[in-house]
C-alpha cells in the first residue's frame, strides 16, 4: 500500500500533473485524485478508447501489443498505460 502511494505521489509531484486515475480491466475506477463524476467520465471514455487502440494494434500485427497511449489536446495531455488487469491514466498540462 505504501509503495503504491509512494509511486503515485512521485508521479503527482511532477510539474503540470493534474490528475491520476487507476482503472481496472472493466473500466471501474479504483483510485483517483479527481472528483467522482469526472473520474467516472474519464474512466468510461478512456476504457473504450484503449480497447479500440489495442485491437487496432493487434489487428495489424497479432504479436504486437499496445504499451502506451498519449492523447495530446489543446489544453492538456492524457497519458494511458494499459495492462492485463488495470490501466493508469495521468492528465498533465504540459505548458504553463
Amino acid at each position: 500500500m505504501a509503495e503504491v502511494e509512494e509511486t503515485l505521489k512521485r508521479i503527482q509531484s511532477q510539474k503540470g500533473v493534474q490528475a491520476i486515475i487507476i482503472v481496472n480491466a472493466e473500466g471501474i475506477p479504483v483510485k483517483t485524485t479527481l472528483d467522482n463524476s469526472s473520474t467516472v467520465q474519464y474512466a468510461g471514455l478512456i476504457h473504450q478508447l484503449v480497447m479500440k487502440a489495442r485491437s487496432t494494434v493487434r489487428d495489424i500485427d497479432p504479436q504486437n501489443d499496445l504499451t502506451f497511449l498519449r492523447v495530446r489536446s489543446k489544453k492538456n495531455e492524457i497519458m494511458i498505460a494499459p495492462d492485463k488487469d488495470y490501466f493508469l491514466i495521468v492528465i498533465q498540462n504540459p505548458t504553463e
Partner: protein
C-alpha cells in the same frame, strides 16, 4: 280573341279562297308574312282602298306601290298607319305590296298587308285543285283552337310493352302449404347427410364436353415488363410496456474492494512497471513542447504579413461644416452607444467672457448646437440638437441611447429625446448606396433640429458653466442623502454634474414625489397648467422642464472642473443587455421613498474630482449628518493632491482596471490608484506643450492617448517607456479638445479627435496599437510595482528622516563633547604646563 265562327259554307266559297297553307295556323292568328293593320279613313282615301267602296268582299286585293307607302310614312311619320311596318316595307323586294281587305276579320283587323312576294303570289293566284283541302282547311280553320280527342292510333308499341312485361307462361304447379298453427312457430333445423338418402339430391357432376375441347393454335399475346412493386403493411401489437430509456449509475467498486485491490501485489507490480514510462513522458513534456510551432508563435508578436510595422494612426474621415462649425470649437464629443458610425459633437463659441457679453445679441440669435455626424455623409450633419446655451459636456444615457443630457455654460442641465429621429440616424449610416438616387434631395434638406425637451431651473442649477456630466450606472441609484440604493427599474435615471462653483450636483430624471408634510409644505400644490408645445418637442420630460431641481448637492471649497463616474458595479449585479427593459415613460416614474429601497453597501461613494487649479480631490458624496444641528452637510474631502499646474481637463478610469485613474492637466498627466493615497503611481515629466485631452485605449491596458495644445497626438505605452511617448503624431494644427476611442469591430478601432477649430477627425487605430500584446498582464504588475515603489519611497523618506535625526543627534553630541573638551583644555592650560597639554593633544 276568337274570331267569329261563321257557319256559312256558301259564303265561304264566295269569299276569296283561303290559302292552302292556312291549315297549320298557329293559335295566335296570323302567320309572319301577314300583317293585320288598321287603316284610318284618311289612309284609305289616300290609297284608294276604302272599305266596301274600293275594296269589297269580292275583290279584297289591292296592290299598293311601295314608294307610296314610303312617302306616306315619311309625310306622316308616327301617325302613319304603316309606321309599324317600316322595316318590312323597306325590305320588300318588289314594287307593289298586296293589301287585302279582310271583311271577316280573320286576322283581327279590317286590312292586312302581305309582306312577302311569295305569299302575295299565292294569294293572288292560288294553285288549282285545292278545293277539298280548302274546305277542310276552312273547317280546321274554324275549330283550330279546341282540339277534340281522337281515337288511339297504334303504331306497334303495345307489342313491345307486352314482350317486356312479366307474365306466367304456364300455370303455377307447385303449392306448398302448411298447417296454420305452425306459421311463425319456431323451427328446428338439423343436419342431414346428403349421401344417406338416395334421391334426396340431384347431382350434376362435371364431365368433359368434347365440343369444347378446342385448342387455339395461334394466339396473339403481348407482354409488358413492369417493375415489380409490392406494397404491404403490417402492424405490430404492443403487448406490454417497455422502457425506452434507462438511467444508470456508473459502476463503482465498494470501498473494501478498492482497499483490497490497492493492497494486491498485482497492482503494485503494474505500477512499478508502468511508472517509468510516465515519468519519461511527463518530463519530456516539461522539457519541451514538441507541438508548439515556433514560427507561428513568433509571428503573433509582430505584424503577421511581415511587412513594415505600421503604428501610424491613419486619417479615416474628418467632419466639419462651413456654417455650423467654423470659428467655433468642439467642446465635447461622444460616440453613439448603439448606432454604429454616428458621433455627436458639441459646438461652442470660441470667445472669451468679454467678447461674449459684447456679442450677446448675436449669440442669442444663433443657438448653440450639438451636431450628429454619420460616416455616410461627411458634409451634412444628420441631426442638430438645439441647446439653451453653449454646451461644455454631454453624455448619452447608458440604458436608453435616445436620451442625452448636457451641461450648459449658464449652469443649466438640458435633456434631449431623439427617439423620433433614431430611424434617420440608423438609416443614414447604412444607406449610402440607396441614397445616391435622391442624393441631391437629401443634400438640400436641412437636417432636422431637435429642441431640448427639458432644462433645469436657472436658480436651482449651477452658478458656473457645467464642466462635466455623467450618468450613474443603471444598477444603483442614490437617495436624497447620498446613500446608494438598489435601483429596481434597472435604468439610468440619475446624473451627476460638477461646475467651478464648488458644487457637485446629483439630478434625478423622475418626477419628484410631492411630499405631504404638514410642517414644511405650507403652500398648496400648484395645479398643472397645460403647457403648449410650440416647438414640437417630445414630451418625455415635460414634468421636469424648468422646474428641475437637483436631488442634492455636495459642497466643497474647491472649484471643480472635472469629475468621473463613481465606482462601477460590483460583479454580482451585472446586467446583461437582453434584460434591459423598454424605455419607460419618465413622467410616470416617481422617486421612490427611501424606505422601500434596499441599501447597497458594496458601492463606494467616493469619487475623484479634478479642479480648475490643477488639484485632484478625492472625496465622498454621501451627506453626513451634523450631530449638533441635525443638518446634512457634505464631508470634507479626504485627500487633495496638487500635481498639475493648470486646469484638470480629463479624469478617466481605465477600462481594464477598476481602480486606476488617469488625470490630465497642465503640462503633465498622472495615473492614480484608488486606495493609494500617498501620491500618483505615475507622473509624467512636464512636456513642452500643454496637454489638453487624454483617453485610455480600449483594448490595450497600458496604452493611452494624450492630446496636446499644438495639435499633436501622443501615444504613451507604459510597457515600452514611461519617460516619453512611444509615438507622436500630428493630427491638426489647433489644440486638441477631446479624444474618444471606439471599437467598431474586431478589425477596426477608431479614434475621434476634436480640435479647437471645429473639425472632428476620425483616425483609424493601427493593428499594433489595438492588438493587445501577449504580456498585457504585466501592466497590472507594473502598477503593483509602482505601488510598491511608492510604499518603498515613503518608507525611505521615513527612514531618511530617522537617519537625519540620528545624524543630527550625533552631531549635537559631538559638538557638546568638543565644547566640554575645550573647556577642560583651557582649564588644564591654566594649571598644567604646556607640554602636558601637547601630549594630551
Amino acid at each position: 280573341s276568337c274570331p267569329k265562327q261563321k257557319q256559312h259554307p256558301e259564303q265561304k266559297r264566295k269569299n276569296a279562297p283561303g290559302p292552302a297553307f292556312l291549315s297549320h295556323l298557329p293559335v295566335t292568328g296570323h302567320p309572319d308574312y301577314i300583317f293585320p293593320l288598321v287603316l284610318t279613313s284618311a289612309t284609305q282615301e289616300l290609297f284608294c282602298c276604302r272599305a266596301d267602296v274600293d275594296v269589297t268582299g269580292d275583290e279584297p286585293h289591292k296592290l299598293l306601290r311601295k314608294e307610296d307607302i314610303l312617302r306616306d310614312m315619311k309625310n306622316r311619320a308616327a301617325v302613319s298607319d304603316f309606321s309599324p311596318l317600316k322595316q318590312a316595307v323597306l325590305d320588300y323586294p318588289e314594287e307593289e305590296l298586296l293589301l287585302v281587305f279582310d271583311q271577316d276579320f280573320t286576322y283581327g283587323q279590317s286590312f292586312y298587308l302581305v309582306l312577302t312576294a311569295g305569299a302575295k303570289e299565292d294569294i293572288l293566284r292560288p294553285p288549282p285543285g285545292m278545293e277539298e283541302e280548302e274546305e277542310e282547311g276552312d273547317e280546321l280553320l274554324e275549330v283550330q283552337k279546341t282540339p277534340e280527342p281522337k281515337p288511339w292510333l297504334s303504331l306497334g308499341s303495345e307489342r313491345e310493352i307486352q314482350e317486356e312485361s312479366v307474365t306466367d307462361t304456364r300455370p303455377r304447379v307447385y303449392k306448398v302449404s302448411r298447417v296454420r298453427r305452425q306459421f311463425g312457430a319456431p323451427v328446428c333445423f338439423w343436419d342431414h347427410s346428403a349421401g344417406a338418402m338416395r334421391g334426396s339430391y340431384v347431382e350434376c357432376p362435371s364431365y368433359q364436353d368434347k365440343s369444347f375441347s378446342l385448342w387455339r393454335m395461334e394466339k396473339e399475346n403481348s407482354v409488358q415488363a413492369i417493375p415489380n412493386t409490392k406494397s404491404s403493411s403490417s402492424q405490430t401489437l404492443w403487448k406490454y410496456p417497455r422502457n425506452m430509456c434507462t438511467q444508470y449509475e456508473p459502476r463503482e467498486l465498494e470501498d473494501e474492494e478498492k482497499e483490497r485491490l490497492l493492497q494486491s501485489a498485482d497492482l503494485k507490480n503494474f505500477l512499478n512497471s508502468v511508472s517509468a514510462r510516465f515519468e519519461l513522458a511527463i518530463q519530456q513534456n516539461e522539457i519541451m513542447d514538441v507541438f508548439l510551432d515556433d514560427w507561428r508563435a513568433l509571428g503573433d508578436e509582430e505584424n503577421v504579413l511581415g511587412g513594415k510595422v505600421d503604428t501610424h494612426l491613419k486619417e479615416y474621415q474628418s467632419f466639419t461644416h462651413t456654417h455650423y462649425s467654423t470659428n467655433k470649437t468642439i467642446s465635447c464629443l461622444s460616440w453613439h452607444p448603439t448606432v454604429n458610425g454616428v458621433i455627436a459633437v458639441a459646438v461652442t463659441e470660441n470667445l472669451s467672457f468679454e467678447e461674449r457679453i459684447n456679442n450677446s445679441t448675436r449669440l442669442l440669435l444663433n443657438p448653440s448646437l450639438i451636431l450628429f455626424w454619420s460616416f455616410s455623409d461627411p458634409i451634412n450633419p444628420q441631426l442638430l440638437l438645439e441647446c439653451p446655451d453653449d454646451i461644455f459636456c454631454f453624455e448619452f444615457c447608458p440604458s436608453n441611447p435616445n436620451i442625452i443630457a448636457g451641461g450648459c455654460m449658464n449652469g443649466q442641465v438640458a435633456l434631449w429625446d431623439i427617439s423620433a429621429h433614431v430611424d434617420r440616424l440608423q438609416g443614414a449610416r447604412g444607406g449610402g448606396a440607396a441614397r445616391t438616387s435622391n442624393a441631391d434631395d437629401t443634400r438640400d434638406i436641412a437636417p432636422p433640429t431637435v429642441r431640448y425637451c427639458a432644462v433645469s431651473g436657472v436658480e436651482s442649477g449651477h452658478r458656473a458653466p457645467i464642466t462635466d456630466i455623467q450618468w450613474l450606472p443603471e444598477t444603483f441609484e442614490v437617495s436624497r442623502t447620498g446613500t446608494p440604493l438598489e435601483n429596481k427599474t434597472l435604468i439610468s435615471v440619475q446624473i451627476v454634474t460638477c461646475a467651478p462653483d464648488c458644487c457637485v450636483m446629483f439630478w434625478d430624471l423622475r418626477a419628484p414625489r410631492t411630499v405631504v408634510n404638514a410642517l414644511t409644505d405650507t403652500k398648496p400644490k400648484p395645479e398643472e397648467k397645460t403647457v403648449e408645445n410650440p416647438y414640437g418637442v417630445p414630451s418625455t420630460f415635460k414634468h421636469l422642464d424648468l422646474t428641475w431641481k437637483p436631488l442634492f448637492r455636495v459642497h466643497t471649497h474647491t472649484h471643480f472642473s472635472h469629475s468621473h463616474s463613481p465606482s462601477p458595479t460590483p460583479p454580482d449585479k451585472s446586467v446583461t443587455v437582453g434584460d434591459r427593459p423598454e424605455p419607460p415613460d419618465y413622467g410616470q416614474l416617481h422617486l421612490p421613498s427611501a424606505k422601500h429601497q434596499r441599501q447597497t453597501d458594496d458601492i463606494s461613494t467616493k469619487f475623484y474630482v479634478g479642479t480648475e487649479d490643477g488639484e485632484v480631490v478625492y472625496t465622498d458624496w454621501k451627506l453626513e449628518k451634523d450631530n449638533d444641528s441635525g443638518q446634512l452637510f457634505s464631508p470634507k474631502p479626504t485627500h487633495c493632491f496638487r500635481v498639475h499646474d493648470c486646469l484638470v481637463n480629463t479624469v478617466s478610469r481605465s477600462p481594464f482596471y477598476l481602480d486606476i485613474i488617469l488625470t490630465v492637466g497642465g503640462w503633465n498627466f498622472a495615473i492614480w490608484k484608488e486606495g493609494v493615497m500617498t501620491g500618483p503611481l505615475v507622473l509624467s515629466a512636464c512636456s513642452q506643450k500643454r496637454c489638453s485631452a487624454g483617453a485610455w485605449s480600449l483594448t490595450r491596458p497600458g496604452v493611452m492617448y494624450i492630446g496636446k495644445e499644438d495639435g499633436n497626438l501622443e501615444v504613451w505605452d507604459l510597457l515600452e517607456k514611461t519617460h516619453e511617448p512611444s509615438q507622436i503624431q500630428s493630427v491638426t494644427t489647433f489644440p486638441i479638445t477631446c479624444i474618444k476611442p471606439w471599437t467598431v469591430s474586431l478589425k477596426q478601432q477608431l479614434l475621434a479627435v476634436s480640435d479647437h477649430q471645429g473639425t472632428l477627425h476620425i483616425l483609424q487605430v493601427p493593428w499594433m496599437l489595438r492588438h493587445p500584446a501577449a504580456n498585457e498582464l504585466s501592466v497590472s504588475r507594473y502598477f503593483e510595482k509602482e505601488v510598491e515603489h511608492l510604499v518603498y519611497f515613503e518608507k525611505r523618506t521615513e527612514m531618511r528622516e530617522r537617519e537625519k535625526k540620528q545624524v543630527e543627534a550625533e552631531e549635537q553630541r559631538r559638538r557638546m563633547v568638543r565644547s566640554s573638551f575645550s573647556w577642560w583644555a583651557s582649564l588644564l592650560d591654566n594649571i598644567c604646563p604646556k607640554n602636558i597639554c601637547a601630549g594630551r593633544n
